[in-house]
């Protein structure tokens, strides 16, 4: 590696401070004030706007399968989502996904 120890520690410090400021931003500076309705209306959808996008490429092109679509992982993802939605329960969903993945990998 072509970087000195000082450079590495500088990266760690900048990323630490920068990441904290990103995380602190709204929570820290807005505090208890009420944000405008249009903004709150958008923010209500934050989790369903970020998490599916975070996961979709990992489901469609998993690294472990060399970046190719893997039927077992795809089926496991759909089973997870379907059962979690149907039972309104995180653990049942995760269990369905894990079982599907193990079963398909065992069969094929």
């Amino acid at each position: 590696m072509s970087h000195s120890a000082t450079e590495i520690w500088a990266i760690i410090a900048v990323l630490g401070v920068g990441t904290f400021l990103i995380r602190f931003s709204f929570l820290g500076l807005v505090g208890a004030r009420r944000m405008p309705d249009w903004l709150l209306r958008h923010l209500r959808y934050t989790p369903v706007a970020v998490l599916p996008g975070l996961v979709a490429p990992l489901v469609a092109w998993p690294d472990a399968a060399g970046g190719d679509t893997d039927p077992a992982r795809l089926a496991a993802a759909l089973a997870t989502l379907a059962v979690a939605f149907w039972r309104k329960n995180v653990l049942w969903g995760a269990l369905a996904g894990a079982t599907t993945l193990e079963a398909l990998n065992w069969v094929f």
Binding site: S25, A32, L40, A49, V50, P62, T80, A84, V90
Partner: protein, 233 residues
């Protein structure tokens, strides 16, 4: 506001966070291994996990360092990966904004995908809970994962080696996050948001890490908000 209710909220959060140890443990171990292979020493590897405490960003930084990228490129790219957390911060504000300053500092330091996803899912189910219980729940979700992240990095950096080749380990993260999303799909607006997010993120996947997701999330949020504005909640 008794201490006991805060304690039980913390325990509830703690229990909901347990499955994620299967994500954080192997992921942290892997980061330790990769960091040392790249040329970081053990204190630097562990220090990064402790100070930055953000998996994807740390992998991005180390990956770029291994390619001998200039340090400002590594910094900018890793911070871009973390920009989604500004959305998390804004989304938590209506629930946790009235907590004392020092609590908001701790929550911010520990605000990552896992704690945010578990926390917001719970707050949307139980919006009436007092803020001290919400803070306790949030901290509970991450009380095991955060130390796992740092200790896992230490073990990976010190011991090295490879993870067992197992689909459940490499796919635990997508499964657990999808399991959190499932119960959130309560209305057409939520469903349309989730679908938009997934497709937009895949279409924009060619953009630098983190940027595509950020744009996809903004588009998806606008879709959800617009449907809600037209149809009502």
């Amino acid at each position: 506001m008794s201490l006991a209710t805060g304690k039980s909220a913390f325990l509830e959060g703690l229990i909901s966070g347990v499955p994620f140890l299967f994500v954080a443990g192997p992921f942290a171990f892997l980061f330790g291994v990769v960091a040392v292979e790249t040329g970081l020493d053990i204190p630097q590897s562990v220090g990064m996990s402790l100070v930055v405490i953000a998996g994807a960003a740390q992998f991005t930084a180390v990956q770029l360092l291994s390619e001998a990228a200039p340090i400002w490129v590594a910094m900018a790219a890793a911070l871009a990966v973390n920009l989604r957390m500004a959305m998390y911060s804004a989304s938590l504000q209506p629930h946790l904004g009235s907590a004392p300053f020092w609590q908001r500092v701790i929550v911010s330091y520990l605000n990552f995908d896992i704690s945010y996803a578990l926390g917001i899912a719970h707050f949307d189910e139980r919006p009436e809970r007092p803020v001290n219980q919400k803070v306790a729940y949030f901290l509970g979700t991450i009380a095991l994962t955060a130390p796992f992240w740092v200790i896992g990095t230490l073990i990976g950096a010190a011991v090295g080696g490879a993870l067992p080749d197992n689909a459940l380990i490499d796919f635990a993260m997508p499964i657990l996050f999808l399991a959190i999303v499932g119960p959130m799909l309560k209305t057409l607006a939520h469903l349309a948001t989730a679908v938009s997010s997934a497709f937009a993120a895949m279409l924009l996947f060619w953009l630098p890490t983190g940027i595509g997701l950020l744009i996809a999330a903004a588009i998806a949020m606008a879709v959800g908000a617009e449907i809600e504005r037209r149809r009502g909640r």
